[in-house]
Every structure is written in structure tokens, then in C-alpha cells.
């Protein structure tokens, strides 16, 4: 196989009788990305990136999820490090399914996220000090539960999160100026109207 596109030439040969083991790293794991849209707003879950490790996930998440709109900071965590409660619907509150959990081992801090509406992003609501994820959910039900119904709860050990360093906060410095990345900023409709009005005269 010879192509001008080097990627085509790297494709495996077809029709071979021999089996070959699947190479490691041909598929990346996933990482969850959280974005803080404004300084006084909580972090919210924004989406997923594929990456070989936490550092690369952070770097790729920055452009994948903060190219447009406003952002002051992001953080990422590997998907497997997110501890998820039961998902509820109707009048059923996820916290009603959280049962008391025993303390085992050393305390660590956990970040707690609530899903306030089905289909909406999880929002950061606070931090608890627990010895394991189940205890973190239990403590969250005591400390962070409010009147507002919650459909799903996430707990992530703080030390499993790759936060934005203080000196990297200027990564988003010029973002508000990048209106050209937003289709609405081109005001296509307005321009068309002006053009049509002018051609009527």
C-alpha cells in the first residue's frame, strides 16, 4: 500500500493469516473535565477528553472545552476516580439512597458534585473529609445536602484532581476577545438584512 498520506501507509496489512497481539496504548482512557465559567461561580462538569495521562488530559481539555464562552479555570480527573451515587428520577432524591458508611483508614478530602436536574451538568458544591468514597457521600448528605433535590452525586478525592496552578490562571486572559470563534459574533443575519435593504433602494 503506497499513498501520499503517511497515515494510510501505516495501516496494518490486511489478509494475513497470523494473529498479532493488540498493542498497548492504541486506545486512551478518559478523563472528566470541569470548568469554572466565572470567578464567583462553582466548577461544573463540562465533558470528557481522551489522553494517556492526567497531565496530557489537562492540556487537551483546555482547548477542547474552553475555546469559547468564558472561563477562568479548569480541572481534570481520571474517570475511574469519580465515585458515582445512584441516579434517581421524579421525586426520588439521590441522598435518600446514601447509607451510613464506616470509617476505614486515613482521612482525605473529597470534592462533592451535585446533579440538580436530569441531563444537566454536575456542579461542585463543597468538600468533605472522609476515609473512603462511601463515607464521603454519607458526610455530604449530612453537610452539603440542601432543600434542593439532587439526582446524582459525585465524589472525587481532591488529590486525584489536576488543578490549574496559580501561575497558569492567565491561560484564559485573551478568551473574552476571541469573538471570532463564535458564529453569532459575525452577525450574519444583520449583514444580510443591511444588504437586502440596500439592494431594495
Amino acid at each position: 500500500m503506497k499513498s501520499l498520506d503517511p497515515r494510510v501507509n501505516r495501516l496494518p496489512q490486511t489478509g494475513s493469516a497470523n494473529t498479532t497481539p493488540k498493542v498497548p496504548l492504541d486506545q486512551f482512557g478518559t478523563f472528566q473535565v470541569f470548568v469554572q465559567p466565572k470567578a464567583n461561580k462553582p466548577f461544573q462538569h463540562e465533558g470528557i477528553v481522551h489522553a494517556p495521562n492526567l497531565e496530557m488530559a489537562y492540556v487537551l481539555a483546555k482547548e477542547a472545552f474552553t475555546r469559547r464562552f468564558t472561563c477562568v479555570s479548569i480541572y481534570v480527573a481520571e474517570t475511574r476516580n469519580i465515585h458515582v451515587s445512584v441516579l434517581t428520577e421524579g421525586d426520588d432524591d439521590a441522598y435518600d439512597h446514601v447509607s451510613e458508611a464506616a470509617q476505614e483508614g486515613k482521612k482525605a478530602s473529597y470534592e462533592i458534585f451535585h446533579m440538580f436536574k436530569r441531563g444537566k451538568q454536575h456542579q461542585h458544591v463543597g468538600t468533605v473529609e472522609a476515609t473512603n468514597p462511601n463515607e464521603a457521600l454519607w458526610l455530604a448528605s449530612k453537610q452539603l445536602r440542601t432543600e434542593k433535590q439532587v439526582f446524582n452525586i459525585w465524589a472525587i478525592r481532591t488529590s486525584d484532581i489536576r488543578f490549574t496552578n496559580q501561575e497558569d490562571l492567565d491561560l484564559w486572559l485573551t478568551l473574552p476577545e476571541k469573538k471570532f470563534r463564535d458564529a453569532a459574533a459575525y452577525k450574519g443575519g444583520e449583514k444580510l438584512k443591511t444588504f437586502l435593504d440596500a439592494s431594495k433602494k
Binding site: 496504548l25 495521562n53 496530557m56 492540556v59 477542547a64 475555546r67 491561560l171 486572559l173 485573551t174
Partner: protein, 251 residues
């Protein structure tokens, strides 16, 4: 303040950004993974933005408007270093170029933060966040692939050795070096080159890549005075294709 000296500095910086921005944008839709495709395209867009800011300063100094400057010159009128116009080939080369070039660019703007030429000092402050991301992105990729597998290491090594003579061409001395230094506009290509070498060394030593001895590399000069490879004119033709359909159109 010597305006000819400032213009020479602005032109080479702006042309570098425009040409490399365009080259890197050729990866849009072809990146090795979706997330990287987006990131690399965004950074290419940033570079075009930097070139616009620099051409705007040139315009204020009496040069043509940015679009005319960007789209109507021929290859021999461009001052970009040859390094920026080389075709992309494979991603390993584009990554190495991104690392070597952006390291220099970030350092240049850092130095220009103290420039006595106010518009450049202001621009340097404004773009520092973007450049921080560009170098962070480049460093993490080179560290990753420079330590990952036998193939990734050998491919990066090959690209590094191919790229270095061209990379040193970034620092082609200008006829105005002493004017720029004496007027406090810019510390000069030599000073930049020394800082750049240190940065490159410190990153490469964190990988399994081997950096050849600097004195064994002959810099590829000429781009700054309009001596380009056969690759530049086709790039310019493609870049200005839409502009040239109707140069007076309002967008």
C-alpha cells in the same frame, strides 16, 4: 527611535507567525486525535492573531494595512525564517517545530515585555497567557513522546536532528542588532538564542532524546532577507486564494 530597525523586527516576527500559523492550520481535520486536532488548530489561530496584531503595529508605523501586507506580497518579500515554511510532513516534525519555535517565541515576547517600544511591550503582556499554553502544550507532548515507545522516541529524534539547523535560523542576525539593543527595544537575537538553547536543553534532558552539540549544527539563514525555499510561494498562493478573488471585498 530607529523606525527601520523596529519595522525589521516586526516584519520578521509577524511573517513567522502568519506562515507557521497557516502551516499548522493545515493539520485541521487531520490531527492524530480529536482533542489534539482542536488544540493544534486553536494555537494556529492564535498565531494568525499575533501576526494581525504585529501587522497592525506596522500599519501604525506607515506600512500597508494588514490584509494587503499579508496577502499581496510574493515569497521574496517575506521575512519569516525558512523553518516556519517547511511542509508539515508527519506529526512528529510539526510537534518538534512547534516546540522549538514556540519556545523561542515565548522567550522573545517575554524579553519584549520590557521593550522601550510601547506597542510591543503591551502586546507582549497581552499574549503571555496564550504563549504559556503553547509552550505548556509543546513541552508535555515532547516529554510524552520523548519517553513513550521506541518508535516515538526514534521518530522525534529524527525530526529533532532535521529541524535544529532550521530552528537556529530563527536567530539570524539583523543588520539593526545594535540599534535595537542600544535603544532598549530588544535585547537582540544573540541573547534570545542563548536563552532558547538553555530552555531546549532543560526540556530535552527530561526525555530520552539526544541533543547534538550546538557547535556541530550549521544554522540555516536567509529567510530574514527573503531567501526562501520552493515551499513558501505555494503556501502564499493557497493562503491568498480567496482574498485575490476580490481584494476590495468587505468581510
Amino acid at each position: 527611535m530607529n523606525h527601520e530597525a523596529i519595522k525589521e523586527l516586526l516584519y520578521k516576527m509577524a511573517d513567522d507567525q502568519l506562515i507557521l500559523g497557516h502551516r499548522n492550520s493545515e493539520w485541521t481535520g487531520f490531527g492524530p486525535l480529536l482533542e489534539e486536532d482542536i488544540a493544534f488548530s486553536s494555537m494556529a489561530q492564535d498565531k494568525i492573531g499575533h501576526s494581525l496584531a504585529l501587522y497592525t503595529i506596522l500599519n501604525d508605523l506607515g506600512e500597508q494595512d494588514p490584509d494587503t501586507t499579508a496577502f499581496t506580497r510574493t515569497a521574496d518579500q517575506f521575512h519569516n525564517t525558512v523553518f516556519t515554511e517547511l511542509p508539515n510532513a508527519e506529526y512528529d516534525f510539526s510537534l518538534i517545530r512547534h516546540f522549538l519555535y514556540d519556545t523561542a517565541e515565548a522567550l522573545r515576547f517575554e524579553m519584549l515585555g520590557q521593550s522601550s517600544f510601547e506597542p510591543l511591550a503591551q502586546l507582549a503582556t497581552k499574549v503571555r497567557g496564550e504563549l504559556r499554553y503553547h509552550t505548556m502544550h509543546a513541552n508535555i507532548w515532547v516529554k510524552q513522546l520523548g519517553t513513550a515507545t521506541k518508535e516515538s522516541i526514534s521518530r522525534l529524534q529524527q525530526s529533532l536532528e532535521f529541524a535544529l539547523p532550521y530552528a537556529l535560523g530563527i536567530f539570524e542576525p539583523s543588520p539593526y542588532e545594535s540599534d535595537l539593543i542600544n535603544d532598549g527595544i530588544f535585547e537582540g537575537e544573540k541573547a534570545l538564542e542563548e536563552k532558547w538553547k538553555k530552555k531546549v536543553e532543560s526540556l530535552i534532558t527530561q526525555t530520552q532524546l539526544q541533543l547534538p552539540k550546538w557547535e556541530t549544527i550549521t544554522p540555516h539563514y536567509g529567510g530574514r532577507i527573503g531567501n526562501h525555499t520552493e515551499h513558501l510561494q505555494p503556501l502564499l498562493d493557497e493562503m491568498s486564494e480567496v482574498f485575490n478573488i476580490d481584494p476590495t471585498a468587505e468581510w
